[in-house]
Symmetry: C2
């Protein structure tokens, strides 16, 4: 087992802010990125937590990502907002476009926001949770780098292409899922490699296209989609809608743009917001029917997604500290020396 260290939430936040500021991010980007990364760490989702700060800091330090650029919000069509992130990271771009997306969803019933030219190494669930907090249904997706082979293929073509969804629940946490369409998150493969742990069968191929459980071989080869040809189809949908549709890069194009630097994917993101009030006469009936569905899941011993994250969030809040990989904290501290 890797050595761990307990650090308080204040120390954790200070560390995240310091890493970002010290590596070239302005105050607005620092706050927006830190909030997303800290939210993941509080949820014990280490693959999207402070571990991501290494790549994010490097992208800015190397001049690949712009740490100071102000995103531009454009009212593009009656139900479409476009946000040009201008080569910055996505959280600030999302934040700036959000009010117009909410407004358009409430006016029309459904609306879309395209974020273009952004770097995105963070989780999507904080974004759809923001929509749910406005009593809207949220759906978000983004390509990444060409790490995942199509079902029946041999080479990376799709990104891990996460899909996140939130359904607002009155007086309760929203129903939220956020899953990679790869069999496992890229960050998890990287963490397995860092800790020399074996992968599970069905997660990855080596560089020849043969199945492998070696995390290092997988990083040089390709990951596999979840759920066979259906997961592969869903990954394709995400490439198309959050790539060509919005005039942005596919995972393959993002990888070419990266040119071997190993930086965060540079790409776009599509967010769809739906206003339940625009679809049915009584949102109480909508909520009641949804709650019966959730009860039907839980009552038979199955779980709602995000329950583990929520439990971790409550625990973190109660504890006032998080338990993180000690070597990772040392590495982050070196970034602010």
């Amino acid at each position: 087992m890797a050595e761990t260290r307990d650090i308080t939430l204040d120390e954790l936040a200070s560390l995240a802010y310091a890493v970002l500021r010290h590596n070239g991010f302005g105050a607005d980007h620092t706050r927006a990125i830190a909030e997303t990364v800290l939210a993941a760490e509080h949820d014990a989702c280490h693959s999207h937590g402070i571990y991501r700060l290494i790549g994010i800091a490097q992208a800015c330090r190397d001049g690949v990502a712009d740490g100071g650029v102000a995103p531009t919000v454009v009212d593009h069509a009656a139900a479409v907002v476009k946000v040009d992130a201008g080569g910055g990271f996505s959280p600030l771009a999302f934040e700036r476009g959000l009010p117009m997306l909410i407004d358009k969803a409430r006016r029309g019933g459904i609306a879309a926001m395209a974020i273009n030219r952004c770097f995105h190494l963070t989780a999507l669930w904080p974004e759809v949770e923001r929509l749910a907090a406005e009593n809207l249904v949220g759906l978000a997706m983004t390509p990444s780098h060409a790490w995942v082979a199509p079902f029946g293929g041999k080479r990376g073509l799709f990104g891990t292409n996460p899909l996140a969804f939130a359904w607002p629940r009155p007086n309760n946490d929203p129903y939220v899922f956020d899953f990679a369409t790869s069999a496992i998150a890229r960050g998890d493969i990287e963490l397995h490699a860092r800790e020399d742990r074996a992968l599970q069968p069905g997660w990855a191929l080596d560089r020849t296209g043969a199945p492998t459980i070696d995390a290092h071989a997988a990083l040089e080869g390709a990951m596999l989609p979840f759920g066979g040809h259906k997961g592969s189809a869903l990954a394709t949908l995400i490439e198309l809608l959050a790539g060509p549709l919005i005039g942005d890069l596919t995972s393959g194009q993002s990888q070419q743009f990266d040119a071997g630097r190993g930086a965060a994917p540079f790409h776009g993101e599509l967010i769809i917001a739906i206003d339940p009030a625009a679809f049915a006469p009584d949102t109480k009936d909508q909520s009641a029917a949804a709650e019966r569905l959730f009860e039907g899941i839980v009552d038979q011993g199955a779980r709602l997604p995000s329950q583990r994250r929520r439990a971790a969030r409550r625990q973190t809040k109660a504890d006032g500290f998080v338990r993180v990989n000690a070597a990772l904290v040392d590495e982050l501290n070196q970034l602010i020396d």
Copy 2:
């Protein structure tokens, strides 16, 4: 092997029209349903082909579904069309609402159509293909009956909840997928039971919640979602968006409404249409990037979805006949005696 029979496309169409007219459907519903069922049969998708006419005919004959009702189209919000199918089957409702959905998608960039109070035993891909023919991206989903257990559960709660998607391709068939979020289509389980063939492991549970490969035990038990907890999450999304969101029944409620009759699911459907022209300055660039993605799939030996269906469609057209289960044709002929 079950005995087969070759029948010409004209004979097939005549049979479908006769079954529908003879069992109470008016001319409009007959044409709309027959077109959908025949399209599936031409594509050699037997589980959604003329086999479905048995249940469709019975629903009308028994007075469960209304074979003559005219769907009502309502301009519900700037980006939302609602169609009340009034207890009829869905294809005519889709057809009647389609022009307004197309218009709203072109005006706003994205729009949604909710079809309410419909019976739906047919495939979704003909619907999203209609949107692609208008150069729109199409997404369609619907719950069914509570046949599918959530991941980690024991009892049916979700429908087979298909998700269909189409991306228009200039001078080519659109990119289309249409998959059940169950491990396999309900119709396939039924066909396995009719032919006493064993299921594959991972498809189903028996009535006690234990895994089974017996198709009859599966029909009394529950099916499983594809792709573990991720497929289960996707099935939940479809329940929510094509159920409570649009003020219609979940698969569990549809099953209760059915009250053991074994008729087609009575429920709603959500269709989302997106206009690529509203998102990017140049749709040629969008198409070119999408085509490179498709090439990247095919070039490494993987397949695009629907290739088998399209090949079957071309073959059917060239042959001028289809090969169908002989006992099924006999059964359908009895329905017009």
